[in-house]
Subunit: 322 residues, 2 copies
């Protein structure tokens, strides 16, 4: 397959004014999994029956793949301002290295750059791809808003939470798949299977993220364990604990949620409560259900090397440690 | 002509989550001149030989007109955060009424909404319109960055300034015209004339803005006179004064630029220097040149009621008082 990192490095940001484009270059050079454009390209390969993407085929699919990656990085840039996050992928965030205004404006330009890349989608496919891209982008913003809203709500159901992460995380993976397949000529049924695959691995991915934040190996996880617990983040684990707990455990949990200045004790106590309430197992069950659902979608697609890659990718998600 | 205000009011923002969409509704309900969508519609009417836009014709042009207005309001929303502006069109700005994060996220969604509207441009015209829209949006962000850069530069030439306002203000008016004409079937020569008309009225408009900020009638201007002088804004007037001044006047001007805590005196003294150096007349000359250039473009277009409206609009710009 085409080297997506090279394609991203190949984007030319050597333009004036530097104050606008340098932070974009910086953001895109910071690495990351490149999961979204990879999904777009593999989805296209699957539909082309495992045919290697080259020549015209690459030119048709690559703009959308790059647009999705640039868009994803735009959301991280603006999220980091809103969350006051200081580090991303081991480097200072843009609003720390420069300032908030730079992060806002360069982020805006990055969103526009995503649409510029998208405008190179073949003309006959562009109207549909643009509509889906807009739906995806809307989902992300709505998901982000729900995430903010949930912080201030005393009661959030697990259904609410699943709806939120579907918008905030899964819809981008779902459309990355669907758009790649559509450009490569997928039938409506195949498009739907690709979409559902992306949606379900996204949900599994996010729940695994919640689990790793508590149960991950500090050596491989890359960030401090228990961060979600310390900031009382309404994760799948916390919401499940609140939903499953008897009165006594619930009181104890709520007590710990109010605790500050005792980080180690708080992490240990909440983790012990999670263990007692079996929330890790509950999370793993839901995660495995979504992984199974994603895998089932693949049966509706041509079976080839690319489909095999998608199968491996879904299975890796469940067993990943970082 | 179709009532553009009604069309904007007709956009439905009654969606969840409210925290995302309420600020968008609030921003678009705050009025404004609706100059950009009006230009798009008149440009289309001119090309259709003054034919009233109705039925299919409206459906073809309106999405782009609305996209441009939503985009323009998005730029105001984010600009107000970056400038820490507290009032816009007589009402608290979004980041004051809500908070910075809301202004960032709802602004992002507003930019996406502009692209959603744009996706309803007829499919055969969409690829070209999307490319132009992206160029326009890029120009605005680049212009905003130059504006910020200029604040920190000791030397800014009038050429630099004109380049900046061309990007920050004119390009949007230019593309509003060109896109409207293109959708209505303008020839490449007509498209270029429409573009140039928009570009030159934009330049005239911005210089008139700079003049009114110093020489406007407080009763009609709507904001305090001398605001640009107080914050040492590098306007056409200040840059011309710095360029035209002899050593003595320049020293006096630079002295006043450093003055604080003496608002009335500073405004009076700088205005007196402007009077002595004839910068108002210099501004009016350049403004009139651009207005004349805009009017000259109209001769290349079909002559009809809509072209007449464009002629009146250009002339109104030169004589406007607010």
């Amino acid at each position: 397959m085409i080297d997506i990192n090279k394609a991203i490095e190949g984007l030319d940001w050597n333009r004036a004014p530097r104050g606008l484009y340098e932070p974009i270059e910086y953001t895109l050079a910071s690495g990351g999994k490149r999961l979204r454009p990879t999904l777009t390209l593999i989805a296209a390969e699957t539909i082309m029956n495992g045919g290697l993407l080259n020549g015209d085929a690459i030119e048709h699919v690559l703009p959308a793949a790059l647009a999705l990656e640039v868009f994803h990085n735009f959301t991280l840039l603006h999220d980091d301002v809103m969350d006051k996050a200081e580090v991303r992928r081991g480097r200072p965030t843009v609003h720390v290295k420069w300032n908030d205004n730079t992060a806002i404006l360069s982020g805006d330009q990055m969103l526009i750059e995503a649409y510029k890349l998208l405008s190179d989608v073949p003309a006959d496919k562009l109207p549909q791809v643009l509509k889906w891209f807009n739906e995806m982008a809307t989902g992300i913003c709505e998901g982000q808003q729900y995430d903010v809203d949930f912080e201030h709500m005393s009661q959030v159901s697990i259904d609410d939470y699943m709806m939120m992460i579907e918008k905030k995380t899964s819809v981008l993976l779902a459309y990355a798949m669907k758009i790649g397949g559509y450009i490569a000529g997928a039938t409506p049924e195949q498009q739907e299977a690709l979409y559902q695959y992306g949606l379900h691995i996204g949900l599994a991915f996010q729940i695994q993220d919640d689990i790793l934040d508590v149960y991950g190996d500090p050596k491989t996880f890359g960030k401090a364990i228990g961060g979600d617990i310390l900031c009382n983040k309404k994760t799948f684990l916390l919401l499940t604990a609140l939903e499953n707990a008897d009165a006594e455990s619930k009181a104890e949990l709520l007590q710990w949620l109010m605790a500050t200045d005792c980080d180690k004790e708080k992490i240990a106590a909440v983790t012990a409560l999670y263990n007692r309430l079996g929330v890790r197992e509950a999370g793993e069950t839901v995660m495995e259900e979504h992984t199974a659902e994603a895998l089932a979608q693949l049966d509706k697609l041509p079976q080839n090397k690319a489909t095999e890659q998608l199968r491996e990718l879904a299975e890796q998600l469940v067993t990943r440690t970082k």
